[in-house]
Symmetry: C2
Subunit: 295 residues, 2 copies
């Protein structure tokens, strides 16, 4: 199946899970509105897509619980964007071509909308009809990925790194935490939902590690080479903010080579899994990997 | 046992669990420091104390898992204070007599410290050695209590309520969500940890509902009748901010009577539990209830 068809079939159902959860389990109208606003702002939905593609590549049926875990993951991502855009953080007025949450609802409600989506992600997974053991593993790994060893630590280091020159290794570590961990969770959760053994979960996380780096390198590249209109957010912002980026540390050509290397490595592990796991078909994941390429 | 002795024995171990969890599971030094700062800022620890007192009143041994769940609960409370104190929210410079988190670490890190404590609470419970079934119930109920049907909804309604006149019912509902739900969680979690059946868990939550209201009424009263020094936070702030409070809606004398009524109701259910549950000794909970009285 083409990944675009796969997305068109499944992603609307992930969005539906997010919106129906928020609508049913939020007691304050304005808070609800502000959460739904950021959910509807859309985006590429790359994390839930990666989760669903992973589940599907093992021939496992995508049922309600899978959509709910994918929805929880995207809620975590959405909360992080809302908080990241705040004046005290990145101070962004525009996100995915629309005014950021605090621009529409004010800072106080934006902070609370983020807190609500974060808490809601755990509530939603806890309410799925999965067996206790995978459910607990999914909850625990989500906390580990999103928390102070993962995404939150990456964001803190990113803020601190703004005021100093970083090495390539330091930069990679920040990105691994800030964006890599949730992408890793996507593939890990997909593997857990497809009831895969530990060694396969490890392979999936290796693919995800390459994708995570590719994701950030691509993001840095596009900030330099694309326009505000095409990005749906302010282009050239990193350079003006004197941010540590791959193009700045490596130059554009070497950055492009680094991106190709990560994509190649991800595809190699997919090929390996096809050799080793008879139920596994790498086609949809290979198409996903292509999404991380520059164009 | 006297509640003061009980607190002195057990609360330091709750704090130890919080600090050791944060220290072990935070990858960024400055983030770690800012989280520990707010944990060490102390406070009355009324939520973990209520949880531990509940466990103990059923004769159940307080073990590491109990301390960890109590620690997770206090981490949620601490995160809510950090976010609540932000300039965009209550804009408080002082908390428990010390500069607020954002005053020391800046707004960006304060937001992330809050996000980290919130996420960490779920991580910590997921890592306890409890059986899967109570562990999942504790995780789910924590999300429900802290999230967009509970505390976060209460805070959103509180912000919106600042610009309008509220009825006593509306005010009570805001407080029930904003502070009541975590107090209810404390007693519910205590009951779950003491392996109590559904009907006892319901009684515990009724006690907690009265305590939650008592807590807020007392807080409003002290804002009028106490000093900044005694409170460790700015006194008279509610009145100056033209906030909806019990004394403002009921007058001081009727507010005092309402507080006594809640305390009386809580004690009545404790007495009932003593009649109905043979392992239950209400002594320590009755002492806890006294803490919610004005003086």
């Amino acid at each position: 199946m083409e990944l675009t068809d796969f997305s068109e079939i499944h992603l609307p159902l992930v969005e539906e899970e997010m919106v129906s959860f928020i609508t049913e389990y939020t007691s304050d109208e304005r808070l609800k509105e502000s959460m739904v606003y950021s959910i509807h702002a859309g985006g590429k939905r790359i994390r839930p897509l990666a989760l669903l593609a992973t589940v599907s590549s093992f021939g496992t049926k995508i049922d309600t619980s899978v959509y709910q875990v994918a929805a929880a993951l995207e809620m975590i991502h959405t909360y992080s964007l809302i908080h990241d855009d705040l004046p005290a953080m990145d101070n962004d007025d525009l996100r995915r071509g629309k005014p950021t949450n605090h621009k529409v609802y004010g800072e106080a409600l934006a902070i609370l909308a983020g807190d609500g989506l974060l808490t809601g992600a755990f509530q939603l997974i806890s309410m799925t009809h999965l067996a206790n053991s995978p459910k607990l593993l999914l909850l625990q790994q989500l906390a580990v990925s999103a928390g102070t060893q993962g995404m939150v630590a990456g964001q803190a280091a990113d803020i601190e790194g703004e005021t100093k020159e970083l090495t390539l290794e330091e930069l990679a570590l920040i990105h691994e935490r800030k964006t890599g961990r949730l992408i890793r969770y996507a593939l890990l959760a997909g593997g857990i939902l497809a009831e895969q053994p530990e060694e396969v979960l490890l392979q999936l996380q290796k693919i995800a590690a390459h994708l995570g780096l590719a994701f950030q390198i691509r993001d840095d590249l596009l900030d330099v080479t694309s326009t505000t209109e095409a990005l749906g957010k302010t282009a050239g912002k990193d350079e003006r903010a004197d941010k540590n980026t791959y193009p700045r540390l490596l130059g554009i050509e070497q950055t492009r080579a680094a991106l190709q290397q990560e994509i190649h490595s991800a595809n190699e592990i997919i090929a390996q899994l096809e050799q080793e796991v008879c139920s596994f078909d790498g086609d949809i994941l290979r198409q996903l990997v292509k999404r991380f390429d520059e164009k």
